[in-house]
Amino acid sequence: MQRLLTTASLLVALAVPAYAEGTRIGVITTLSGPAGYLGEQIRDGLTLGLEASGAAFELVVEDDGRDPNTGVQVADRMLNEEGIKLLTGIVFSNVSGAVVPEALDAGAIYVSPNAAPSPLAGEKCHPNYFVVSWQNDSLHEASGAAAKKLGYTTAVALAPNYQAGKDAIEGFKREFGGEVTEIYTGVEQSDFAGEMAQIRDKAPQVVFQFHPGGQGIAFLKQYQQAGLLGTVPMVLSEPSYDAVILKAVGPAAVGVTGTTHWNADFDNEASKAMVAAWAAAHPDVPLTTYGQQAYDTGLLIGSALVKAGGDGDVAALQAAIKAAEFASTRGSFAFGPNQHPVQDWYMTAIEADEAGNPKVVTKEKIREAVGDVYAANCKM
């Protein structure tokens, strides 16, 4: 019931713009369906980040339903009807693949808080297209590096049988260097008992798995239930152990190693401010890296809006975003030649807090200032 009320008030808050004078920013994101919580994180992270930046803004949020058609429709209205010059928010690559070209052709700027499909990172890069999150490959390279650093030489790597899953395993293998058994899972699979049996049969030194969202929750639960948690160590990339997943699996995640570009215990001012602001605004909802990426996106956009004085001069705004002069929650942040981030990657451990629930603790920096493999193909 309480949830019902908060949602209702949220709706009202959305309908009544809080900063009617500010620059209008279009947020197209996924709020319906099982992945709806990702869009929720992005929307709320953006709001807090922009507020922290001190820029005058107004968010125009709309659900894409994870459907490219809807996304394009929304984008068209925002760009051509409402005269919005700055878009952001998309969670999934399939939506951004349809929407980003639409925005770029209209002369607008798109800043991605999450999705970063590889074609747009390489040959099809564009001056008005920025990614604040990360490119898929570098994400999983970090896990490979972590597994290597921990001294493992044999691994079983599991991911769903779609492009991002294959990229994940490729990325892991690239940095790991050891012997890897690849297992692909079904795209909508939710029971991994068969895979657990195979892992036990292979008896590797380490397991790497990439299953975001609900699949990740099911996988971790079943890993524990199969008695593998204490037996075979696991390394994960950040989408497979975000705070929402950890909350849903509870103790079943304790003991797992993660790799990430940001963690809640980071010791910098921006991160601390964000964690505090989030806790105040959304006490019931854990802050995930999606929220953090969106917060950084908010800070970046905000800093550029302040510098360029709004979106009246798109070229100036583009230059201000490209300069990336903001204090990122991840400490250091810079754009590479393809306007994707060049950043550090960290190894984290999932430990138990006093109540036995999982808590992510940052251990060490494993990769420094890395961009992505597609940057070389980008000629801007």
Partner: protein
């Protein structure tokens, strides 16, 4: 008959004016909205031919929509990269080539699915068509070369000689021309000798067999024609959105097409277009006001189906009857 044609002409003129009206009122996204609705209307109308006129309830029609779309996407991909499909077929961005290719490939796929499915009927037919669509869905998700589940970008709309396809209004009119042509084709089709046989099969397959009609062949032919129509719609959609992805053939998309047909009016010519327009407008409009748009959409659909028979077309007929 004359009056029908007048109404049709009037509707066409109104639709042709949409880009101007959109510009004039500042609601420029209408062009895209109506364009997408028209394309969905074509896909739904193609489904309606087998579903409404032929009595074959296919729950996998989005597969042909998606396949048609992917033909455009894949040909463009090879055109862009300067490579050839399977090393033989060169890519192209010419609409005069891509659309017929899409129609052809979708027709072939429909021939395959139809030949295997049409032996069954009722619920079994519903499920087996769904099953084939799922297979295509999983196939395209695992096609790495063509973007897998992320889909495939078509950076530029296919070229049509003499037209500036970058211009939104031009593209819209091209779509409208296709939609109108397809509508006229369907009108012709349901009134043709073949259309009559198909209508007969829907009402009484046994009787038609006793008249010497090998019903399976006719149903297969209808299924293929319908699949080709969906392929054409899919190819236009990819040109319109400049993007193809496996979403196009997800089973919920098949469900959506069915919803459009039923909402508009099963077995009517204009119904699917009206249903597509209504559903699409409803979704987009509601999504502007609430993130929870699915709830009102669901309730509305439920109310429509529980309180009316024959969808919006029946409602229109009722209103017209009342006005007389």
């Amino acid at each position: 008959m004359k009056r029908d044609n007048l109404v049709l002409l009037a509707v066409l003129i109104l639709l042709a004016l949409v880009p101007f009206a959109a510009e004039f009122t500042g609601q420029s996204s209408w062009t895209k909205l109506v364009g997408q609705a028209l394309i969905y209307g074509m896909a739904a109308a193609s489904l309606n031919f087998i579903l409404g006129y032929g009595g074959m309830v296919s729950f996998g029609h989005a597969a042909f929509f998606g396949i048609g779309g992917y033909v455009v996407g894949i040909l463009y991909h090879h055109f862009d990269a300067g490579t050839a499909f399977l090393g033989i077929i060169p890519g192209t961005d010419q609409m005069l080539v891509t659309l017929p290719a899409a129609v052809l490939v979708a027709g072939l796929a429909a021939a395959l699915v139809g030949a295997l499915s049409l032996r069954t009927g009722g619920v079994q037919f519903i499920m087996i068509t769904l099953a084939f669509a799922q297979m295509f869905f999983f196939l395209f998700i695992s096609l790495k070369t063509y973007g897998g589940e992320d889909g495939i970008m078509v950076r530029r709309t296919n070229a049509l000689p003499g037209l500036n396809m970058k211009d939104k209004a031009t593209l819209y009119w091209v779509v409208l021309a296709f939609a109108a042509a397809y509508y006229l084709f369907l009108r012709r089709l349901v009134r043709s000798s073949f259309g009559q046989i198909i209508a007969g099969i829907r009402q009484n397959e046994r009787r038609m067999a006793a008249m010497g009609i090998s019903t399976l062949r006719y149903k297969l032919y209808a299924f293929i024609l319908s699949g080709m129509g969906a392929g054409l719609a899919g190819a236009l959609m990819v040109n319109f959105l400049r993007f193809a992805s496996p979403d196009m053939m997800h089973w919920t998309r098949s469900g959506e097409l069915m919803v459009m047909v039923i909402l508009g009016g099963v077995g009517t010519l204009a119904g699917p277009f009206i249903g597509a327009g209504a559903l699409f407008t409803l979704e987009t409009t509601l999504a502007r006001y609430t993130e929870h748009w699915m709830l009102p959409v669901g309730i509305l659909l439920l109310v429509v189906v529980l309180t009316s028979k024959g969808g919006l077309m029946a409602l229109i007929a009722k209103l017209k009857g009342g006005a007389k």
